[in-house]
């Protein structure tokens, strides 16, 4: 759409947000009874579901077992109805494989795998509606699911996407902003130490602006952390009320 302003003169984006504002995040833990851990998150219109099984014995070839650590196995699938045009392959194509690898990399860094040698932790993420920031939503959902499963982690893993338009860094991009073709950055952060678990960027961004975009993404990830922390505490409170403590 020619003439679509991603950032108006007054500083409002297409959906009325300010440059550094996140979309509304709603999350629930313990969505499925069958799985060890599960979580559902909605970031604006992006909806993702994450399920964790484990730690359990290695399925398939025993040869893959690591003697000192647990194996983290991540699979990403996006539903055929998740995008505007119907997707033909929900999983198994290159992009899904790449997402799975990236999720695995993120969580291998965050989960304390040394505590469960020779076992396997499965993380399955399903995207129900993709409206931008799918990687971030997947990571946030998976963090909640891993916490729900009781698998020990170093810290929350909070992720957010960021972009750059008209010399301003935007946080939490929606699909319209991503499709416009500007630079997009996806950042997964451990908020307490500020360490970056995964950093991924596409499209051209001048080196001088890299710092401001990184800073915007880090700030947004910390905001996500506050929200997720609240969700976890609420869930624990509810669970303890049910237990009668």
């Amino acid at each position: 759409m020619a003439g679509l302003e991603l950032l108006s003169d007054q500083g409002y984006r297409v959906d009325g947000r300010r440059a550094g504002e996140l979309r509304k995040i709603q999350a629930r833990m313990g969505v499925f009874a069958q799985a060890d851990g599960s979580a559902y998150i909605e970031q604006g219109n992006t909806k993702a579901l994450a399920v964790v099984y484990g730690p359990h014995e290695i399925r398939g070839s025993r040869a893959r077992a690591l003697p000192d650590r647990a194996l983290v196995n991540c699979q990403y699938s996006s539903a055929t109805f998740s995008t505007g045009e119907r997707k033909r392959r929900p999983h198994g194509d290159r992009k899904s494989c790449e997402m799975g690898l990236q999720l695995r990399q993120t969580f291998e860094a965050a989960i304390l795998t040394q505590l469960h040698p020779r076992s396997q932790i499965d993380i399955y993420v399903q995207v129900l509606q993709a409206d931008g920031g799918t990687y971030a939503a997947c990571v946030n959902a998976a963090t909640l699911a891993v916490l729900d499963a009781g698998v020990p982690m170093r810290d929350f893993v909070c992720a957010c996407s960021a972009g750059f338009v008209d010399s301003t860094a935007l946080a939490d991009l929606s699909h319209v902003e991503e499709a416009a073709g500007g630079p997009q950055l996806a950042l997964a952060l451990l908020p307490a130490s500020g360490q970056i678990a995964l950093l991924e960027m596409d499209a051209r961004l001048h080196e001088d602006h890299l710092e401001s975009v990184l800073e915007a993404a880090a700030r947004a990830a910390r905001d996500v952390h506050t929200l997720l922390d609240r969700v976890v505490r609420q869930h624990v409170r509810e669970a303890s009320v049910l237990l009668g403590d």
Binding site: E98, L101, Q105, S193, I196, A203, R204, H206, L214
Partner: protein, 376 residues
């Protein structure tokens, strides 16, 4: 074949060396290996050698109908293959993780950064567009596949010429290279990947890791930039945790490296263009250095040659006279001489005792040949 595991000694040695800021091949922390670019006879074919890592890139094009949601843009397709000759560990079924990672990184680096003007690849909107296919084959794996592959891809794209097309109303005419000179692709900028390997939880970093260093590294950060200092792609992989200022420092280093590499590429393209224009020889065969021993030195050993004449006379005096005295050979034509009158053919009569005599004759002939050489 399973990869040979790295022994603990070697791993410890490499890590200790890196802690002391030493690399096994003598490079500095931010040094690249030697980059050599050679072109084939066809347009769009090149081999890039980064140290010993070798990647072959080939670009081809085809007229196809465009994608439905992008009717006026051409199609770019990238494919990197890890050939089985590159490393024993690369088997047809086994490579998927690494392959997916490399392919996606290349796609993002080259396609999402819009280095090629896809609108210029449109011939008839909605019906016919050019599909440009870049095939990269890894021929030898000595570390840092992604850098070599990105250089090969962009060099092949810059070198490629597509056939000229003209559209008159509804008619589309495709000219062969003989009718009209092929046209180069319109390339906006050249993104080049620079890899940083991190060791000891991010304390030490190296640019352009070779295969051994890749085995012991904790994680890898790939930054793709062009010479205008625009970052095209950043990808962190492996289990390392980075800090923001590490990323910023790496981007500055990458900027410097990319400038150097871009200059090298321009020079190589310019050389090739000159050679083709002047009608000189080009192609892979020309760029491979012919086998020659460039240096074989021996120390000059001092030998006392003052009494050589006396010694020679002694030897000649004590030596036995030659067994047979032969007349001078008769020269029929250049290269053909006759010695003596010819011996009767005794093939088929050979027995052990006669065989010994044959051998003796053989040595005599050797002496005779030597004497002929001295005469002529």
């Amino acid at each position: 074949m399973k990869e040979t595991p790295l022994s603990n000694c070697e791993r410890r040695f490499l890590l200790r060396a890196i802690e002391e800021k030493k690399r096994l091949d003598g490079r500095q922390t931010y040094d690249y290996r030697n980059i050599k670019i050679s072109f084939g006879t066809d347009y769009g074919c090149c081999i890039v050698e980064l140290g010993k890592t070798r990647v072959l890139g080939q670009v081809s094009c085809e007229l196809v109908s465009p994608k439905l949601n992008r009717a006026t843009e051409g199609i770019l397709f990238f494919n990197l293959e890890l050939s089985q000759m590159a490393a024993p560990a690369f088997e047809p079924g086994r490579q998927s993780d690494l392959l997916v990672k490399l392919n996606r990184l290349l796609e993002r680096c080259l396609r999402n950064s819009k280095c090629i003007d896809t609108e210029s690849l449109c011939v008839v909107a909605g019906e016919k567009v050019w599909q440009i296919r870049v095939d990269l084959h890894l021929l030898n794996h000595d570390g840092n596949i992604i850098d070599a592959a990105s250089i090969a891809a962009i060099v092949a794209l810059c070198h490629f010429r597509r056939p000229d097309v003209s559209v008159q109303g509804d008619e589309v005419t495709l000219y062969t290279p003989e009718e009209r000179d092929p046209v180069p692709l319109s390339i906006h900028h050249m993104p080049i990947c620079v890899s940083f390997a991190f060791f000891q939880q991010g304390t030490y970093l190296l640019v352009d890791p070779n295969e051994r260093e890749e085995r012991v590294m904790d994680g890898l950060l790939v930054i793709a930039m062009n010479k205008h200092r625009e970052i095209c792609t950043i990808q962190s992989s492996g289990g390392i945790m980075l800090l923001k200022d590490q990323v910023l420092r790496c981007s500055k280093i990458a900027g410097v490296k990319v400038l150097e590499i871009t200059e090298l590429i321009q020079k190589a393209l310019e050389n090739d263009r000159k050679v083709r224009k002047e009608g000189g020889k080009y192609g892979f065969a020309e760029s491979i250095a012919s086998q020659r021993i460039t240096a074989f030195k021996m120390e000059k050993a001092p030998i006392d040659t003052s009494d050589v004449e006396e010694k020679a006379e002694e030897i000649i005096a004590e030596a036995e006279p030659p067994l047979e005295v032969v007349s001078n050979p008769v020269l029929w034509t250049p290269g053909t001489a006759q010695i003596g009158e010819g011996v009767e053919n005794s093939w088929g009569d050979l027995e052990d005792s006669e065989k010994e005599e044959e051998d003796e004759d053989g040595t005599d002939e050797a002496i005779i040949l030597d004497s002929i050489k001295m005469d002529t």
